[in-house]
């Protein structure tokens, strides 16, 4: 999960926290969001629908969306 964010947004893992929000930093823009979505799909072998792509606006919400696919974060 963290790797999906660090790779897509090109940020350090320390910067990935639940409150991190879409467009709150220059690196999480509409372009890197597309990369993030494909990274998450590849990492968890899931397919995200358009509603999820739009809704995924924070790290915390990303976890919630991924959890809907039966994946838990400890």
């Amino acid at each position: 999960m963290t790797d999906a964010f660090t790779d897509a947004l090109m940020i350090d893992k320390e910067q990935v926290h639940d409150a991190l929000k879409y467009q709150s930093i220059p690196n999480w823009d509409s372009i890197s969001h597309m990369v993030l979505i494909t990274n998450i799909e590849a990492a968890f072998d899931i397919s995200l629908g358009t509603d999820d792509v739009i809704a995924m606006s924070t790290v915390a919400i990303a976890k919630e969306i991924i959890a809907k696919h039966g994946i838990s974060f400890s």
Binding site: I31, M34, V35, I37, T38, E41, A42, S47
Partner: protein, 247 residues
């Protein structure tokens, strides 16, 4: 699948320009995903290309007017572990009528096939391309999308929309290595223009600088070039294949 055999998805692949593009891409070494309504024609084409070029082709028959058609196509690809390298948004319908004679159904059908499907197919394909940081989308516009045509208000509106879409998507997806271009065919001798008589064809031939009418293969050769690495610095373009037709 390696780049030795890149994979192209073609909508409206069963006949006309779509079939010609499939044939040219197969000759260039592509494997293909063939999408159209007519499964019989798609299977015939797949067999033909397999025999000629050892092309692997996945056939998916669907009515692209259905709102979930793109989802079905890309679910099929996921189930078959197919990652495409190029999307050719070729499927289209032309229903000529003056605006006053245009029914709601004609508006819905042409907007649905010619524009909505292009949006939904492109949206789904982008995920494939983003993973690779590479990809190619070709949208089949038309000369009437540039110049308009009497009795073609809806058709030309959809084809103009594809030009706007091409320009926007090329800007949006360029940073991810994805190229988006449009082809604007002129008057081509295809099933779409089969409705016209010889007198009309002759009139169109004389309106063309080269004094000849185009074929589906003329368009297919450009599509094949745009998919290739030779076109790696070409994006956001609308390229006419019209023999210099003035309308």
């Amino acid at each position: 699948m390696t780049d030795i055999h890149p994979i192209a998805l073609i909508t409206g692949a069963s006949r006309g320009i779509g079939k010609a593009i499939a044939t040219e891409l197969a000759a260039a070494g592509y494997h293909l995903v063939l999408v159209a309504r007519n499964e019989v024609l798609l299977n015939e084409l797949a067999r033909e290309l397999a025999a000629l070029h050892e092309t692997k082709a996945w056939v998916f028959s669907t009515d692209l007017l259905q709102p979930d058609a793109a989802t079905k196509v890309f679910t099929f690809l996921q189930q078959n572990n197919v990652q495409i390298d190029a999307l050719i948004n070729n499927a289209g319908i032309m229903q000529n009528a003056t605006l006053m004679m245009t029914t709601e159904e004609m508006i819905d059908d042409q907007l649905g096939i010619n524009l909505r499907t292009v949006l939904t197919m492109s949206r789904a394909a982008v995920k494939h391309f983003v993973r690779k940081r590479k990809g190619c989308i070709i949208n089949m516009s038309s000369i009437v999308g540039v110049n308009g045509g009497i009795g073609q208000a809806v058709y030309s509106a959809t084809k103009s929309a594809l030009i706007g879409l091409t320009h926007s998507l090329s800007k949006e997806l360029g940073p991810l290595g994805i190229r988006v271009n449009a082809i604007a065919p002129g008057y081509m001798m295809t099933n779409m223009t089969a409705q016209y008589d010889d007198a009309h064809n002759e009139k169109m031939r004389m309106a063309t600088s080269l004094r000849k009418l185009g074929s589906a293969t003329d368009v297919a050769k450009l599509a094949t070039f745009l998919c290739s690495s030779d076109a790696s610095f070409i994006t956001g373009q609308v390229i006419g294949v019209d023999g210099g037709l003035l309308i």
